[in-house]
Every structure is written in structure tokens, then in C-alpha cells.
């Protein structure tokens, strides 16, 4: 059992944070869309596109940051295309998302083969991974330094975006308009709020965030692209947004939870004899568990209300006939 507990280390924490980052970025985009009343089930493909374009553009431009920029712009354009098809032609967002998820998966493999002759994975020695940032002073504090310092800019940026999104949604006029559109679109429109513009913006921003999360995978965490690199993280992000009740801070902690589940399953493979395939499904199992919990919360609220109602009925019964 010593081996089992040895997985709980600062390295586990570090890798949990790293693995949570792409999920968090995409999940914030998903939460924003949910708040604006547009279902975004295409986070997975936007992430995959970001991962692919990020590394390919970094290779051709010879600059990783330009690569990331290209990925983010492409994610935004994809989000805009979504909004355009939705608003102009009333295309069903669920069907659109399914189609896009399938197309992007095959398209990235196809282009990878045309450009680089590879179908499984691709990398190039010229590509530079985004460097880690060692924060002065903080990095020298024992334990805390090891926990908070030493990640690359994606990680810190994702935290900043979570906080910014919270402030925007709950403390600015613009954020209130977003929430109004999501909760009652007609109410917002009748006071002159442009719901279409807000929903378009939400889809564009969430595309950019998901693509940024994807780029983290290919040039921030590793420096290679593999077929289906997002590997379900876009879907996990949707679960994280739901688990976080679409609140940016809630989403932050939900994403951390999934990141740690991921990190844990990686670590545990090194220290136990459990079959790797079994361990790999751990994070997915956690996702299902969380979704069940969310559903249970509804059921529990309902049954609590129900038992309160029974109590009221009994109380009414005691009251009504009076002491006869």
C-alpha cells in the first residue's frame, strides 16, 4: 500500500493542474454559451482543431505564439460559423455539433497525412514548446512555490479568464444582458438588447477558448499532434460546466476535479499492477459519476419538497377537523 499512497505528491498536484487547464478553458466557453442560452456541444472539435492548427502554424511560422494565435482565430471563426448557420438558417445546434465533431476528427488526420505523410502522430524538432514561468519570490516559498509556480502562461491565463468571466457575468451591464438573453431571450429583446449579437459573441468566444485549450495540448503540454488528441476533453468540459452550475468559479473547481482525476489515473498506472486499460477509464468514470450526482441533486430537491408537502398536508389535517 505504500506504493499506492506515494502517488499523492506535489508532482500529482502539478500534473492535475496541467491536465485541468485545457478542460477549464473549454468549460469556461461552454459555461458562457449556456449562460447565453446556446448549447455548444462542439467544444470537442473546436479543441481538436485548436490543437492541430496550433502546432501546424507554429511549425510553418517558426513561432509558437503565432501558432497559438492562428488556432484561437480559427476557433473563433468556427464559433462564428456556428452562430451564422444557427441564426440565418435555424440549423439545429446539436446536429451541427455532431457533424462538426466527426468532420474535424477526420479532416485533421487527412491534412496531417497530406502535409506530413503521417496518420498517427506528428512532430518536428523545430517546434518549441511554450516555456514554463517561474514566478520570482513565490517560487522560493516552500510547498506553495512548488504548487503555484512553474506552469506556462496557458495555466495562469486560464485562471485569469475564469475570474474575468465571473466579473463580467455578474458585475457588468454586458454580463447581465448575457444572463437575461440566456434565461428569457424575448424579455431581453423587447428592451432592445440584441440577443443575436450576444449569442454570436458567446459562440465565437467559446470557440476561441476551446481552441486555446486545444493548443495547450499540442504546444503547451507536449509538442506533438496525435490523431484525436482532444480525446473527449471537450465532452468532459461540458460536464465540468454543468457540474460548476455554469458559474465561472464553480466551473474552475469542477475542471480541477476532472484534471486531478486524470492525473491520478496516470500516476496510479506507474505504481500499481492494475490493468492500464481499467485505470484509463477512471476519469471517464468520474465524469459519469458527476453527471449522476447532478441528476440526483434534482431528484433530492424534488423529494425533499415532496416530504415537506406531506408534512404540510398532515399539519393541515391536524388543523382542519378541530378538537371534536
Amino acid at each position: 500500500m505504500e506504493g499506492f499512497f506515494s502517488v499523492f505528491t506535489i508532482e500529482l498536484f502539478n500534473s492535475g493542474i496541467r491536465l485541468a487547464t485545457p478542460i477549464l478553458l473549454a468549460a469556461l466557453g461552454g459555461a458562457l454559451c449556456n449562460k447565453a442560452g446556446v448549447l455548444n456541444l462542439a467544444l470537442e472539435s473546436k479543441m481538436l482543431l485548436g490543437a492541430f492548427l496550433g502546432i501546424v502554424a507554429a511549425y510553418y511560422f517558426g513561432n509558437t505564439y503565432l501558432g497559438i494565435l492562428v488556432a484561437v482565430i480559427a476557433g473563433g471563426l468556427l464559433g462564428w460559423l456556428f452562430a451564422f448557420l444557427y441564426h440565418r438558417y435555424q440549423v439545429d445546434l446539436v446536429i451541427l455539433a455532431i457533424a462538426l465533431n466527426l468532420i474535424i476528427l477526420e479532416l485533421t488526420v487527412y491534412i496531417m497525412r497530406v502535409l506530413f505523410g503521417q496518420t498517427g502522430s506528428w512532430s518536428d524538432p523545430s517546434i518549441v514548446r511554450v516555456p514554463d514561468i517561474h514566478i520570482p519570490i513565490i517560487q522560493d516559498i516552500p510547498v506553495i512555490g512548488g504548487l503555484l509556480s512553474g506552469y506556462n502562461f496557458f495555466v495562469y491565463l486560464s485562471w485569469a479568464i475564469a475570474i474575468t468571466l465571473y466579473v463580467v457575468l455578474y458585475h457588468t451591464t454586458f454580463g447581465r444582458h448575457i444572463r437575461a438573453v440566456g434565461e428569457n431571450k424575448e424579455a431581453a429583446e423587447t428592451v432592445g438588447i440584441n440577443a443575436r449579437r450576444i449569442q454570436t459573441l458567446a459562440l465565437v468566444l467559446s470557440g476561441m477558448l476551446a481552441a486555446l485549450g486545444g493548443a495547450f495540448l499540442s504546444v503547451g503540454h507536449l509538442k506533438l499532434f496525435t490523431r484525436n488528441m482532444s480525446n473527449g476533453r471537450g465532452w468532459t468540459a461540458i460536464a465540468a460546466a454543468l457540474f460548476g452550475l455554469n458559474h465561472p468559479i464553480g466551473t474552475f473547481f469542477a475542471s480541477l476535479f476532472f484534471g486531478f482525476a486524470d492525473a491520478f489515473s496516470v500516476r496510479i498506472q506507474n505504481v500499481t499492477d492494475l490493468p492500464p486499460n481499467l485505470v484509463e477509464i477512471l476519469p471517464n468514470f468520474a465524469t459519469v459519476l458527476v453527471l449522476v450526482l447532478i441528476a440526483l441533486r434534482e431528484t433530492v430537491t424534488r423529494s425533499m419538497a415532496r416530504s415537506r408537502s406531506r408534512a404540510q398536508i398532515r399539519a393541515a389535517a391536524d388543523e382542519k377537523p378541530g378538537p371534536a
Binding site: V191, G192, A305, R306
Partner: protein
């Protein structure tokens, strides 16, 4: 007097439904008056007001505000010209506070950041200025309907509206709330605001309006000063012929009990108590009316009675046999018929044809069913028979039903439900959204069924309908029977107090 608003030659044709909703309509409103706009459903009053508010683009016509021609393409334009609209279905965000709702789209801010204290102060001042007190920090979802409507009115006033359009504002209110609204409307008019009051209830016109415009079939059929007209005259203008305002019916001949609810409790979809310990009986040959403001448990009670929702406690009996846990089909076989509230989604299946809709409650009978296969010919014969008996003029045997008018759709439902000569009929809002002609038909059908010996449970939020049809009236409030009244002697005020939750013994309102 100066005209606050003038609409000239407004026309609108909807190609998708082939309806000429507005046909060369002229409409003028004087400054500071309360102007009622009346007409049946589909007469074009909502279209006219949607055009005024920029929700619908007219094909032709012009609009003048204070004598100046204006272009209104979007609600923003209407608001800019001082036109405000209180919609029939409130446009509010449930999780927002009163202040947040009123200030939505025009929030006080510092560089884009919200300033909640200033917001609450503005709303308090606004409410005080107009004598419409509200709690700025209360959540919309916690407010009663009358209060939500007040928020909508304040929302319009904060946007500097000089012309207020109220679309069917009394449809969701208790009689007391209606009286309060009438007072508010009169005060606004005295303070110089112009109010356009859309309604189809003529008694309200007489109570609140200075002038009235009647619409029929997309045209303006006349504008009059209220002082110079009468309710029967307005009714005639509205319908285009004489209307029976009263239902003729013979005295009731009550027979044995056909339905009994004993101590019934039901919870709603969210798990909250909707019906609490309700007991009543319906006898053969009588109509029992359930009055009440919508949302006081009527829907859940009907669902429990018809088998659509499980009981939380209590028992039901159909024709003296226990029916508490019978399925819908078993209840129907025991003599139940159900005319549901929502004819489009629950009452009918618009995807299938007339024949199929008519036999959907009896397709297992040998007459229509041969070893699991439907007998198309006997279905057709049955449809032809029902069309004749219930004079569903526009329906074609084997034809689609999705393009029928609301009145004809309801005739299909009633035809199906009453064709089997049920002993107990549940009719929930059977005339909602129907024109006067169809309302007469529905009322006649129900009274005929009663005279034939059926017991009827009639649920309606239209007090006039309840009083005209019922032999006995039960008033529901917060899931309980608040009291029983005799429709022959009860006054509207008496019932109104019960609807608002007053105890039947005490006469003073407990507000």
C-alpha cells in the same frame, strides 16, 4: 383634442397562413385618453399593436406620433417615440430582482460596471412617483402575477413612454387585482399618459375606457365614445351578428353520483403541493364548475382525475367504483371523457389525420380493430358520422387537421370525447382562445351532454363562463376548495374574494 397616435391604412398579409391580419386599418388615439381596442381572437388587434411596437413589419400604411410621421422597425424605435408595451405574457427574467428587471437594458453603471445601490434607489423613486409601490430587491419568481404586471408597467414608464399599450392585461388577474389595475390605468390617464387597452371583455371596456375601437376580420369596424355605446352594441360590432350572452338551460335534474374525489392530494412537477385534501362529488345531470385564478391547482387536479398524474393521497371513484389507481384507458372504459386544456399538444395529434384523431381513444374496439390491424373503412364511417353530429364544417374525412381553426380543432376534440356518450366529462378551459361562435357551440354541447344525463366537471378561469354554465361552483385557492357558491345567487365580488383566498365565513377581505 390632439391625437397622440394615428395609424393610417395599415395592411398586413401573412403568406404562411394565408391570413389578411390587417386590411387598411385606420386607428387614432387622443392624448391622455384610455382607448380600448376590442375584437375576437384573430380580429387583428394583436397584429396592429405588434406593428405599432415594431415586432411586425406592415405591408402598407403610416404611423404618426404627436402628428409627426415615424418609422418603427424595431422595439427600440417604438421606445424612442414614447411607445411602451405591457405584453400579455410578461417578458421578465425569473431570477432577476424587480430593480434588475425594470432597469434591464438601461442599467446605471460606472464604466460598464453595475451599481446596484443606485439601481435600487432609481426604482424606489420611480415607484413612489407613480404611486405603484414595489420592493426593488424582491425576485421576480417570488412575486404574485399582479405584482409582476406592475413591474412591467414600471419598466415601460422608466423608458419614458407616453403611450402605454396593455395587451389583455386582465387575463391572468383576480377580480381584486383587476380592480386595482383599473385604478392604476385611470390614474395614469389623469397624469397625462395615453393608454391603449386591448381586451375582449366588454364589461372592462365600459369600466375603464373613454373611447373604444372595435376590430373584426382584420378591419376597423368603428370607433365610439364609451358613453355613447352599450355592451350589446359592442358585442354585435365584434361578432357581426346578435350574440347570446347567456346560455339557455333547463333546471338541473341531479341523478346518482358519477364521480367522487375523497381527500385528494397531488404534488406538481417540481414536487410542491398543488392540491391539498380536496373532496367533492359530481352527480349525473349537473355541471360542477371549478373557479379560481390559474395556477391554484386546477391543472394538477384535472390531471389526477383523468389519470395523467398519480395521487399523493386520497381516493377517486367513478360511477361508485374505486378508480384511484386505474390507468387512463381503464378510466375511459369506466365512462370518463376528457377535454384537455391544451388542444394542440394534448387534445390532438396534428401530424395525423382526422379519422385517426377521432378513434385514438377507442381504436381497441372490435369495430375499428381486426387482429391488431385498423379497419380504415369503419374509421371513415365513424368520422363522417362525427362530422355530421358535431357539424365540424371545415373538416374532411381522412384529411389533415393542422390547418383547422382553433374552433374547429376544439370541435374535433369534443366530437371524439362526447361521441361515446360518457357518463363523466372533465372539461378544462374548453373555450380558451375561441371566437364567440365556437364558444356558443362548446357551451351548447356541454349543456346538451348534461341534459342527456352526464356529470360534468368544468374548470375555467373565465368567471363569466363558470357562472353561465355551472349548476354548482367550487372555488379553488392554493390547492384547496376555498368555498362553494350557488351561481344563481352569487355575486362576482363574492367569488372574487374566495379566489383571492378570503375565508367564506368572513366577509371582510383578509389582505
Amino acid at each position: 383634442m390632439a391625437l397622440a397616435l394615428e395609424m393610417k391604412g395599415i395592411s398586413k398579409y401573412f403568406a404562411s397562413t394565408d391570413v389578411r391580419a390587417n386590411d387598411q386599418v385606420d386607428f387614432a388615439v387622443e392624448a391622455g385618453e384610455v382607448h380600448a381596442l376590442v375584437g375576437e381572437n384573430g380580429a387583428g388587434k394583436t397584429t396592429l399593436m405588434s406593428i405599432l411596437y415594431g415586432l411586425v413589419r406592415p405591408d402598407a400604411g403610416e404611423i404618426k406620433v404627436d402628428g409627426q410621421p415615424v418609422q418603427i422597425h424595431r422595439p427600440d424605435d417604438a421606445i424612442r417615440h414614447g411607445i411602451g408595451m405591457v405584453h400579455q405574457h410578461f417578458k421578465l427574467v425569473p431570477s432577476f430582482t424587480v430593480a434588475q428587471s425594470i432597469m434591464l437594458g438601461m442599467e446605471p453603471n460606472r464604466g460598464g460596471f453595475l451599481t446596484p445601490n443606485e439601481e435600487n434607489r432609481i426604482v424606489s423613486e420611480l415607484a413612489e412617483r407613480h404611486g405603484l409601490p414595489v420592493d426593488p430587491k424582491a425576485r421576480i419568481r417570488d412575486l404574485p402575477v399582479g405584482m409582476q404586471q406592475r413591474v412591467e408597467i414600471l419598466k415601460v414608464l422608466e423608458r419614458k413612454a407616453k403611450i402605454l399599450v396593455l395587451d389583455e392585461p386582465t387575463a391572468v388577474l383576480t377580480p381584486q387585482e383587476v380592480a386595482e389595475l383599473m385604478r392604476v390605468v385611470r390614474n395614469l390617464s389623469q397624469a397625462g399618459f395615453t393608454v391603449i387597452f386591448i381586451t375582449h371583455k366588454l364589461l372592462e371596456v365600459v369600466r375603464v375606457a373613454d373611447r373604444v375601437t372595435v376590430m373584426r376580420g382584420g378591419r376597423n369596424v368603428g370607433s365610439k365614445a364609451v358613453a355613447e355605446t352599450t355592451v350589446p352594441e359592442l358585442a354585435r360590432m365584434m361578432v357581426g351578428r346578435e350574440v347570446l350572452l347567456k346560455v339557455n338551460k333547463a333546471p338541473r335534474q341531479p341523478g346518482p353520483v358519477v364521480f367522487a374525489a375523497d381527500d385528494v392530494s397531488v404534488t406538481d412537477v417540481r414536487g410542491f403541493p398543488a392540491v391539498t385534501r380536496v373532496s367533492f362529488e359530481v352527480r349525473a345531470g349537473e355541471i360542477v364548475g371549478i373557479a379560481g385564478v390559474s395556477g391554484n391547482g386546477q391543472t394538477e387536479l384535472v390531471e389526477a382525475v383523468t389519470g395523467m398524474r398519480a395521487l399523493d393521497g386520497g381516493r377517486l371513484a367513478l360511477n361508485a367504483k374505486d378508480a384511484t389507481s386505474l390507468s387512463v384507458r381503464q378510466r375511459r372504459n369506466a365512462g370518463l371523457a376528457h377535454i384537455p386544456e391544451d388542444r394542440i399538444h394534448v387534445g390532438l395529434n396534428l401530424e395525423t389525420n382526422l379519422d385517426e384523431n377521432l378513434i385514438v381513444s377507442r381504436y381497441k374496439l372490435g369495430q375499428f380493430n381486426r387482429a391488431g390491424f385498423l379497419n380504415r373503412r369503419s374509421m371513415r364511417d365513424f368520422a363522417i358520422d362525427v362530422i355530421k353530429r358535431f357539424s365540424i364544417a371545415a373538416a374532411v374525412p381522412g384529411g389533415g387537421i393542422s390547418r383547422l381553426s382553433g374552433g374547429n380543432m376544439q370541435k374535433v376534440v369534443i366530437g371524439r370525447e362526447l361521441a361515446g356518450e360518457p357518463t363523466f366529462i372533465v372539461a378544462n378551459q374548453p373555450t380558451r382562445g375561441l371566437d364567440v361562435g365556437s364558444i356558443e357551440f362548446v357551451h351548447r354541447s356541454l349543456v346538451d351532454a348534461r341534459d342527456r344525463g352526464a356529470g360534468i366537471l368544468l374548470v375555467s378561469v373565465e368567471l363569466e363562463e363558470i357562472l353561465a354554465l355551472s349548476d354548482r361552483v367550487l372555488v379553488m385557492y392554493r390547492g384547496q376548495i376555498q368555498g362553494e357558491v350557488d351561481p344563481a345567487t352569487a355575486t362576482e365580488e363574492q367569488i372574487g374574494l374566495l379566489m383571492a383566498g378570503a375565508q367564506p365565513e368572513t366577509t371582510a377581505p383578509t389582505a
